[in-house]
């Protein structure tokens, strides 16, 4: 390679590496702000903001969804498989909201530590399969448990 080209190559590589390092540091320092939601463990540990709105993500515990009263109010428990938080929401839930699915709720904690959600979004997983495959996976895991 000719010296002039080599010099340009080095200059450009240095520029790209420099930008990458700078961005890396910037992202690292803003890491907390880039999290779209807090986990239930964060909330139980008191890391979530007390008086302001924030987002809480987790999996809806199976069998925990209940509708106290006649209204639109739904109460359910969220978990990240270590700590649980109770959520109350009044409104229409998205199509993909079901027990055992991940969701993200936007709202704030009340004095009792219950999360009062203003908005509930469903987080779908990265698995795509036909219903028959899902059914056979289920029976397979059930029969494995039975043994």
């Amino acid at each position: 390679m000719k010296p002039a080209r080599k010099q340009r190559l080095i200059l450009i590589s240095l520029m790209v590496i420099g930008v990458a390092i700078a961005t890396g540091f910037a992202l690292k320092s803003f890491n907390e702000n880039l999290m779209y939601f807090f986990s239930t463990t964060d909330v139980v540990a008191g890391k979530a903001p007390k008086d302001s709105l924030f987002r809480l993500g987790g999996m809806v515990i199976k069998g925990s969804v209940e509708r106290p009263g006649d209204g639109m109010m739904v109460r359910f428990k969220l978990t990240d498989f270590s700590k649980e938080v109770t959520v109350e929401y009044t409104g229409i839930l998205p199509d993909l909201f079901r027990e055992g699915q991940g969701i993200v709720a936007h709202g704030k904690l009340n004095a009792q530590g219950v999360f009062i959600a203003e908005e509930v979004l469903a987080k779908h997983d990265e698995n795509y399969m036909p219903p028959e495959v899902k059914a056979s996976l289920k029976t397979k895991s059930l029969s494995e448990k039975g043994q």
């Binding site: 080209r5 340009r8 190559l9 450009i12 520029m15 790209v16 930008v19 990458a20 961005t23 992202l27 890491n31 880039l34 999290m35 779209y36 939601f37 807090f38 986990s39 993500g57 839930l93 998205p94 199509d95 993909l96 699915q101 993200v104 908005e119 509930v120 979004l121 469903a122 987080k123 779908h124 997983d125 990265e126 698995n127 795509y128 399969m129 036909p130 219903p131 028959e132 495959v133 899902k134």
Partner: protein, 254 residues
């Protein structure tokens, strides 16, 4: 250089010459067009008709056959554009500059399609058109990078300087590409994690995966077609005073 077979080196040397590129792409076009049509028909037939409905999302998931290939292309084209820009800067190859700037509008379109179809998909599934999570935001920044490249190129009259400027802008923006790809792993996002490109086997059923890959190839071939057509026009504009363009036009007049 010595590891690359001689015939490949010669091919690239010849492709870098504008008249040869112009003639070669003209001959390639009908073939590419056929490949594109066949791949698209096969992919759409497989995706919309043969593939089964999803266990969670029913038929709504079928937008994946546009959304995911478009999102892949938005990243792929950016890498091509930045690489071509770097080659143009270092080796001063005119054709590389042309490829870089011709890629920008195509990449911007694919980014827009990915964002738009993602929004359509998000409303019924997540319950919202748009959220400011890391994946969606970094993809939006990618769209702005493309628009920045197009705008910067248009703003500078001297196209030699313009090419250098956009190459540097594109190279600075390269840092966004790994951020987009890994955003769903580094941070909590509403967008789900990777399906096809994970290390272990993809978590999509094979009957759904094959049409998806066919659509990805179809989008790739569309990009090649669009890129070549745009590059040919850009070349003619830049080389309008050169001998080969004059000879070609005179021959066409006869």
């Amino acid at each position: 250089m010595f590891l690359v077979p001689d015939i490949v080196v010669r091919f690239f040397h010849r492709m870098a010459s504008p008249p040869h590129f112009y003639a070669f792409t003209q001959r390639l076009m009908p073939w590419l067009g056929t490949v594109f049509v066949l791949l698209t028909l096969a992919g759409l037939y497989g995706g919309l008709y043969l593939a089964p409905a999803d266990y969670q999302q029913g038929d709504s998931y079928r937008i994946i056959y546009i959304h995911v290939p478009a999102a892949w292309m938005s990243l792929f084209i950016y890498i091509v554009m930045a690489t071509a820009g770097a080659i143009g800067l270092i080796w001063r190859i005119k054709l590389a500059e042309v490829v870089a700037i011709s890629s920008a509008p195509i990449g911007a379109s694919f980014t827009f399609i990915a964002l738009f179809t993602g929004s359509l998909w998000g409303k019924p599934m997540w319950g919202t058109w748009w959220v400011w999570d890391a994946r969606l935001t970094s993809e939006l920044i990618l769209l702005f990078l493309y628009l920045g490249v197009i705008g910067l190129y248009g703003a500078i009259d001297d196209k030699k300087i313009a090419s250098k400027a956009v190459a540097i802008l594109a190279l600075v923006g390269v840092v966004n590409i790994p951020i987009i790809h890994y955003s769903v792993e580094w941070w909590n996002t509403l967008h789900q994690g990777p399906t096809v490109t994970k290390m272990d086997k993809p978590s999509i059923h094979v009957s759904m995966l094959i049409p998806l890959l066919l659509m990805a190839l179809s989008f790739k071939s569309y990009y090649l077609i669009a890129l070549m057509q745009r590059s040919r026009i850009e070349l003619l504009k830049r080389e309008r005073n050169s001998q080969w363009v004059k000879t070609m036009i005179l021959e066409a007049d006869k």
